[in-house]
């Protein structure tokens, strides 16, 4: 089943996530949607699948204009989306998850549904026990379940948003085979990715999106360099950076053991020198986040010691780390950093470590105005945090950081940012590093890791699989390490 | 309720007949245009204490042509915005020239109101603020008291229970503890004991227990639940429940048990028609009849000769259901056997003639102290200010323990 998007605009406040996108996919086509993180791919697909409502534009399914207000609307028109994190209810069983989205108030015939699940699974060579709780399934298996569910609900257009992020290589091969088979049956498949190789491997045609707009459409195969240039607006050169002289150790971690419900890290050692940048690579949930939590005092270390700036912080709480100049910027800017509903002025007042009881709002506003200008934030002292675009939120967070930090910990520092913002963020971070701040950051963006780190620690299943020198490593090597392969 | 309506119409006729005969000092005046206020603690249709006052007011209004202004549910839970003195002020502002505050609990408010409105006659029913020889004489010229000698009603109720019980165990569902309620429990106990020993010639001591719920009616969260209290009594072997509260839970619960085949009975309280909820096991009900006293008071105010008096009115022994005369009544219920009924009539006659005076010593309080010495007959003062339950009753006294 073919569909067409015409002049789709999707604005979030001042942010234009999609700015006049045209896209046409024929029945039976395997279509790639390529673009860097934050280019607007996911937003476009959420518009197509009814999660977001478009600001303007037109959606045609089989040549007929349609209005998709909710995911259920989209499903009625045969459009189903497989999200980056499959939308399954973990405590429920496989069969419950399979049934859960079925429309209509009438009672579901569980036995029949189980039979159909079995039939579908058999057809694609999947293997499910309908009574297993889904939490026991791997991410790849959850994806498979979700695909079967969408098929059962009558999907004729299948959208997959970065589906290979959390799955193993064999699962990816199986996924691609399934998608090819579906396309052969007339299913339109939209494969959203920022991974060039995968799009090249799977798709027949690719649309490249940059900064919310379509910058090109190509039949595949097509020279990779051409696609990269479209994606980034110029070929990236990796490996050139100023070499900063590294000073004495700022952060010394030894024998760190820390765990949460999902991951556990044991016996983690790390020494970060003044001005050094350490990248943490790995699949989501491999242990990077809990290490960052431990290093910032948010999570208590079960074993080991943490020293920063020569002080032993192991027994201290988060505020002790903060006082010692150790600060952490998690990835969720509006969840763990900014306060939605408060203005920029209020944020600056909160960040200023003043103890005066009264607030002089006039001078606070003035100061905020200066900070806003200094940090190129698109907003006014009265703007609320949530009204800012992601890039401006990140600028605000950086503007709120203490001066003279000893250690700066970050998680996905440029996720969702446009190129300009990302470059600015790193400019700021590198300035800090020149002041001697040690930086440890986790990222899923291999280019970013390679470009800005001195060393990269690759996490796999809660331990450091390898430490590589960012100057001599490559996207390829990192990619394999992240997948758990030590040597090629 | 239709029978009571009919009886009320009849009463009016009887009343007019009496007026024609120019008998008694409660001859109704023509009070057209006169307004009196009535402050009730509970709902005006509670089938109990508050309704009895409300109907007395209606009775007066019908006979005299005066207008009654009623504010019901005046208690801190139902009406948190106003205290009794504020309500009295409202009623006076609406033209009331006489205010009835009809609950023991309204003491503080009505004293304040009487003080603030010295020109408006007021009545605090069940109180003692106008009793010169009492303990709490307030000396307010505009505040009188009215009360019925319910101790007789309770003696009759207790006798009916004593004549009926098979297990020799009687439960009394009490409201809160004060002089009045202890007086009434003691009366019921004395009546039950007398009839148990005299008519049934039982020698085993009667088991008589009281549980106080904490207020005149159930306020969830503030009081014990009378339904639960009733069932606990029945579970522990009591087969007759006497109610001392404004509502009918004891009768209703006993009725439920009876319909399941248990041999249990109950004596409700406060309202002439109270037996209607479970007539078959109802032994009868003592009730207040405020009409005659209130009529007299309205008359005196209209005539300009109101005096702040403390009235403690007794029953009309000739006819305990003559609502034009008696201050308290007794109607026997269907649950009373013919034998018991005869004994009860004998008992009532004895009370009326004065042959039986149960408040005669020797009687001890619960803590063993002497209430009445051997042969001593209680004075009004001793009866009114009952400090404790009597020896022989299981239950808590206000000043005991």
């Amino acid at each position: 089943m073919g569909f067409e998007l015409r002049e789709i605009h999707k604005h979030f406040g001042a942010v234009r996530a999609n700015d006049g996108v045209n896209l046409s996919v024929a029945s039976g086509e395997l279509h790639g949607l390529l673009g860097e993180n934050g280019a607007g791919k996911s937003t476009l697909m959420k518009v197509l699948s009814g999660f977001h409502q478009k600001t303007s534009g037109e959606i045609l399914v089989e040549g007929e204009p349609v209005e998709l207000r909710t995911p259920a609307d989209a499903m009625q028109h045969g459009i189903g989306m497989l999200h980056q994190d499959p939308l399954v209810f973990l405590p429920f069983t496989v069969l419950d998850n399979f049934i859960i989205g079925s429309p209509g108030p009438e009672r579901v015939n569980r036995r029949e549904a189980a039979r159909e699940l079995a039939t579908l699974a058999e057809r694609f060579g999947f293997n499910f026990d309908p009574d297993t709780p889904t939490r026991r399934l791997t991410v790849g298996e959850r994806q498979q379940l979700e695909i079967l569910r969408l098929l059962w609900l009558g999907a004729r257009v299948l959208i997959l948003d970065e589906p290979t992020t959390g799955i193993s290589a064999p699962q990816r091969i199986k996924l691609f085979a399934t998608l090819r088979e579906l396309a052969a049956d007339g299913m339109s498949v939209v494969f959203v990715s920022h991974k060039l190789e995968e799009v090249e491997e799977l798709c027949e045609r690719v649309t490249i999106i940059r900064a919310g707009a379509v910058v090109g459409e190509r039949d595949l195969p097509c020279p990779a360099a051409e696609l990269v240039e479209l994606m980034f607006g110029g070929e990236v050169e990796v490996g050139e950076r100023p070499i900063v002289g590294l000073g004495p150790p700022r952060l010394v971690v030894s024998g760190l053991g820390v765990q949460d419900r999902l991951a556990s890290v044991e016996d983690f050692d790390l020494e970060v020198a003044e001005g050094e940048v350490i990248g943490l690579a790995g699949l989501e949930g491999s242990g990077q986040r809990i290490v960052l939590d431990a290093l910032s005092g948010l999570r208590r270390a079960q074993t080991g010691t943490i020293q920063a700036g020569g002080r032993d912080l192991t027994k201290t709480g988060y505020r002790g780390y903060l006082a010692a100049g150790v600060q952490f910027l998690p990835a969720g800017r509006l969840e763990e950093g900014l306060v939605a509903g408060l203005t920029l002025t209020e944020h600056f007042v909160l960040a200023a470590r003043s103890d005066s009881f009264r607030i002089d709002w006039d001078s606070a506003r003035e100061e905020a105005g200066r900070d806003i200008v200094d940090h190129f934030i698109k907003g006014t002292p009265e703007s609320t945090a949530e009204s800012l675009s992601g890039g401006n939120q990140q600028r605000l967070l950086l503007a709120m950081l203490q001066d003279n930090l000893s250690v700066l910990l970050m998680e996905h520092p440029t996720r969702g940012l446009d190129i300009e913002s990302a470059a600015w963020v790193w400019e700021q971070l590198l300035l800090r590093r020149e002041d001697g701040t040690a930086i440890v950051f986790a990222s899923a963006d291999l280019d970013e890791l390679l470009e800005y780190s001195d060393r990269i620690l690759v996490f796999f299943n809660g331990s450091v699989l390898a430490e590589v020198n960012a100057r001599t490593s490559s996207v390829d090597e990192l990619g394999h390490l992240i997948g758990g392969k030590v040597s090629r | 309720m239709s029978t009571t309506k009919v009886s009320r119409v009849l009463l009016v006729f009887v009343a007019f007949a009496l007026i024609a005969a120019a008998c008694g000092d409660s001859e109704p005046v023509d009070a057209e245009g006169f307004k009196f206020g009535m402050i009730l603690v509970g709902p005006q249709n509670d089938h109990g204490w508050s309704q009895a006052h409300y109907e007395a007011g209606q009775y007066v209004a019908e006979l005299t042509g005066a207008e009654m202004i009623v504010q019901d549910k005046v208690n801190p839970s139902d009406l948190p915005e106003k205290t009794v003195d504020q309500v009295a002020a409202d009623l006076i502002a609406l033209g009331a020239e006489l205010v009835f505050a009809t609950s023991d609990d309204m003491k503080d408010g009505i004293l304040l109101a009487a003080e603030q409105n010295p020109d408006v006659p007021m009545i605090w029913s069940s109180g003692d603020s106008a009793w010169e020889d009492g303990k709490a004489f307030a000396g307010l010229d505009n505040l009188g008291n009215v009360m019925g000698k319910m101790e007789f009603g309770k003696m009759i109720a207790g006798c009916a229970a004593g004549l009926t019980t098979q297990t020799g165990s009687i439960g009394y569902v009490g409201p809160l503890t004060n002089d009045e309620t202890q007086r009434l429990v003691n009366s019921a106990y004395l009546g039950a004991k007398y009839c148990w020993e005299t008519y049934r010639e039982e020698t085993t001591p009667l088991d008589f227990a009281v549980t106080w719920i904490g207020f005149w009616f159930n306020i969830p969260g503030f009081t014990l639940d009378p339904t639960q209290v009733s069932n606990e009594f029945l579970d522990s072997g009591a087969d007759v429940l006497i109610s001392g509260i404004d509502t009918t839970e004891a009768l209703v619960e006993a009725g439920k048990r009876a319909s399941e085949g248990e041999a249990v009975w109950s004596v409700p309280y406060d309202f002439e028609g109270a037996c209607a909820e479970a007539p078959d096991i109802c032994l009868g009900t003592p009730y207040f009849n405020w009409g005659p006293a209130y009529l007299e008071i309205v008359n005196s105010v209209v005539n300009g000769d109101f005096k702040a008096e403390w009235q403690w009115n007794g029953p009309d022994w000739d006819n305990l259901t003559d609502n034009t005369k008696t201050a308290l009544g007794w109607v026997s219920g269907d649950g009373l056997s013919a034998d018991a009924s005869a004994d009860l009539d004998d008992f009532i006659a004895g009370l009326g003639s004065g042959d039986i005076n149960l408040f005669t010593g020797p009687l001890n309080y619960q803590d063993g102290s002497v209430y009445l010495a051997d042969g001593e007959e209680a004075t009004d003062f001793q009866i009114w200010y009952t400090e404790q339950l009597l020896e022989g009753i299981t239950g808590e006294s206000a000043s005991g323990g």
Binding site: V349, R358 | P76, D90
Partner: protein, 361 residues
């Protein structure tokens, strides 16, 4: 702010009041009353004379105190449903002073009010400890403590503080006159109660608008995680919010005991805590709206007690009118949130519960 802005901001409220009026009129018609006559009775009954105006203010004062306290806990993102219990405990503490301390009125009254503040604050602090250390949601902890406070009041009234020879839930013996809040002339209006309420609103207004404490509290309320990451000791701030908010509720209890009932009654709170939650919600959690909205509620409460006397209506009509007003305000807020969501392009879901104060101050 120009007129269009003003309209945009206030139209929800205007709409809610208009709808509530329409439905209220319909209800009165159904109840067989002339709505305008009923409205007249309510207005006359609450404002018609100096005494009635005083009666209304005496309901207004505790309502404002409790609502002002709730603004603090709402700012911290806490649903302090236990406010009723804090009123009761404050009243108990004030009663203790009023019964036991003798001396000049100014001394007893000052001590009683302080005791009320401390008592209410302590009771809320317990709910706060349960929340921050026991991980007990403040709604359940607060309700539980409310029942405990209630039971304590009943126990005191029936037990240690009972009237001589009497044990009735109708209350303790009236306090000595020196312990009563001073009144204006012969009215029942206590200028102390009104003054305390006015000061409370001003203090809360200033705290939430002009101080670092208030701003941090708001940050905690809107996003505890971010607030914590910003270095705010969130637990301590929540406890402080509980103590302060509960303290104001306790003052309401002290006013009820020493200024209104002049004794301790088990239902001393008069339900004003729950009513204050509605006042705070209706005010959009803004301190400047607390006083007028509480006044409307007080007018409805006091004025409608005359409905049964003058029009033969049930006195619960006033409560029904209050309920209608609240219902439509919440509905209107919901509609507004929904409209905003739509214009933001998010697929329409249920409106956010109005936990997070919009604009305080």
């Amino acid at each position: 702010m120009n007129f269009a802005d003003l309209w945009k901001r206030s139209r929800t409220g205007v709409f809610a009041v208009a709808m509530a009026l329409v439905v209220g009129i319909l209800l009165l018609l159904v109840a067989g009353a002339n709505p305008f006559e009923a409205l007249g009775v309510i207005i006359d009954g609450s404002l018609g004379s100096t005494a009635r105006f005083g009666d209304t203010l005496m309901v207004w004062a505790p309502l404002v105190l409790a609502a002002a306290g709730l603004l603090i806990t709402f700012a911290a993102g806490l649903w302090n449903i236990g406010v009723e219990g804090q009123i009761v405990f404050g009243a108990i503490a004030a009663s203790l002073v009023a019964r036991e301390v003798s001396g000049p009125t100014w001394l007893i009254v000052t001590l009683a009010l302080l005791a009320g503040f401390a008592g209410g604050g302590f009771w809320a602090f317990l709910a706060g400890l349960l929340r921050t250390y026991g991980k007990v949601n403040e709604i359940f902890g607060g309700l539980g403590l409310f029942f405990v406070a209630q039971a304590l009041a009943v126990y005191l009234v029936l037990g240690p503080w009972k009237r001589p020879g009497v044990a009735s839930t109708s209350g303790t013996e009236p306090f000595p006159r020196e312990s009563w809040l001073p009144t204006l002339g012969s009215t029942r209006l206590s200028w102390v109660a009104v003054l305390v309420a006015v000061i409370a609103v001003l203090v809360v207004f200033y705290l939430l608008r002009g101080t670092r404490f208030g701003l941090r509290l708001k940050a905690v309320g809107k996003n505890m995680r971010s607030a914590f990451l910003l270095g705010i000791p969130t637990g301590r701030y929540m406890l402080a919010a509980f103590a302060l908010g509960g303290g104001l509720a306790g003052l309401a209890g002290a006013v009820q005991a020493t200024g209104f009932h002049h004794k301790l009654v088990p239902s001393i709170s008069g339900g004003y805590g729950f009513l204050a939650i509605l006042v705070a919600m209706l005010a959009g959690y803004a301190a400047r709206w607390i006083a007028p909205i509480a006044f409307v509620f007080a007018m409805l409460a006091v004025g409608s007690t005359l409905l049964p006397l003058k029009l033969g209506l049930d006195s619960s009509v006033g409560g029904v009118l209050q309920g209608v007003l609240v219902l439509f305000t919440i509905l209107a807020q919901g509609w507004q949130a929904r409209r905003q969501n739509r214009s933001d392009g998010v697929a329409a879901g249920p409106p956010e519960p109005p936990i997070v104060p919009g604009e305080v101050g």
